[in-house]
C-alpha cells in the first residue's frame, strides 16, 4: 500500500510521524522549505532547516526510524496532480489553503482514490478529520489565511496528527472511514 501525504507542514509532518509504523510506503508532497520558525510547530529538526520539507521529512523518517518514504518536492498543480497520486491507495489532505484542497479533492474523486482531509482552525482551538465524501471547502476569511504559526498550538497539532493517523490506521486495517472533531475538550467521532 502507498499513502500520499499532501502538505507536510505542521499537520502533515506530525501525521507522518504517527503513520510511521503502518505497513505502507509514505509519499510526501510539499514544495516549501523548512525555516527555523517551523521548528516550533512542525516535526522538523534543526539540521533540516533550509531543506525542502518533503525531502527533510523523508530523511528524518529514514535516519531516526529506518522508515523509507518517497519525497516529491513540488507544488501540487493541475498539471502534476495525477502524477503525484499515481500508484497511491490513499491520500491525505494536510494543505493549508482552499485551492490546493479543492484541486486534490477533484483529482481524488476522478481517480476514485480514498481521500481524508485534516485541518485546523486559525486560532488553534479546533480541528476536523473528514473523509472526502463529506467534504466541501469553507471560505477563508482572507486569502492564504495563515494557521497555527509559532509554537502556541503545538498540543492541538499533536492531537490532530494523532487523530488523523488513527483514521488512516482504521482505514488501512479495516476499510473504515470515520470522521472526527478535535477540540481542547477532547476528540469526538462524528461519523
Amino acid at each position: 500500500m502507498r499513502i500520499v501525504i499532501c502538505g507536510v507542514g505542521a499537520l502533515g509532518s506530525t501525521t507522518a510521524l504517527f503513520c510511521r509504523n503502518l505497513d505502507a510506503t509514505l509519499r510526501l508532497v510539499d514544495f516549501d522549505r523548512v525555516e527555523s520558525k517551523n521548528l516550533q510547530a512542525q516535526w522538523f529538526v534543526k539540521q533540516s532547516v533550509g531543506k525542502n520539507k518533503a525531502q527533510a521529512l523523508r530523511l528524518q523518517l529514514q535516519n531516526f526510524y529506518g522508515v523509507k518514504a518517497e519525497a516529491m518536492g513540488v507544488r501540487l498543480s493541475e498539471d502534476n496532480t495525477r502524477e503525484l497520486l499515481d500508484g497511491c491507495d490513499l491520500a491525505l489532505d494536510c494543505f493549508d489553503n482552499i485551492a490546493s484542497r479543492q484541486l486534490l479533492s477533484t483529482a481524488a474523486r476522478d481517480l476514485e482514490l480514498p481521500l481524508v482531509h485534516g485541518a485546523l482552525s486559525g486560532d488553534g482551538t479546533f480541528g476536523l478529520v473528514r473523509w472526502d465524501e463529506r467534504f466541501s471547502a469553507d471560505a477563508e476569511d482572507v486569502e492564504g489565511q495563515a494557521t497555527c504559526e509559532g509554537g502556541e498550538h503545538l498540543p492541538i497539532i499533536g492531537a490532530m496528527g494523532a487523530t488523523l493517523a488513527r483514521a488512516v490506521q482504521d482505514h488501512v486495517r479495516a476499510g473504515d472511514r470515520h470522521d472526527y472533531m478535535v477540540s481542547l475538550s477532547g476528540v469526538t467521532r462524528t461519523s
Binding site: R101, S121, D123, R130, A137, H178, S183, S185
Partner: protein, 83 residues
Amino acid sequence: MAVLNITYNGLSADYDMDIDYAASDADIRRIAVEVVRSGGVRGLHIANLADNAFRNYVIDHMDSPTGERRIYLRPKVPFGAEV
C-alpha cells in the same frame, strides 16, 4: 429534530434540547447565542457572549455513528461538509 453541538473557544458541548433539523443558519446562530448565554449548554456558559459571536462560524448537518441527526456549529478550519 436534531441535537445541536456548539464549539466555541476550544470547548465543544451538546445543547440538551432538540431543535428543528431544517432550521435556517440564521436561526441556529441566534439559538446558539441564547442557549450559551443562558447556561443551557453544559460546560459552555458565557453570560456576556456577543450577538455576533457565531457570525463567521460554519454549520454542518450530519448523522452521528448511531444514526442521530446532529447539527454542528463550529469555527472554520477551513473546510466544511456536504449535507
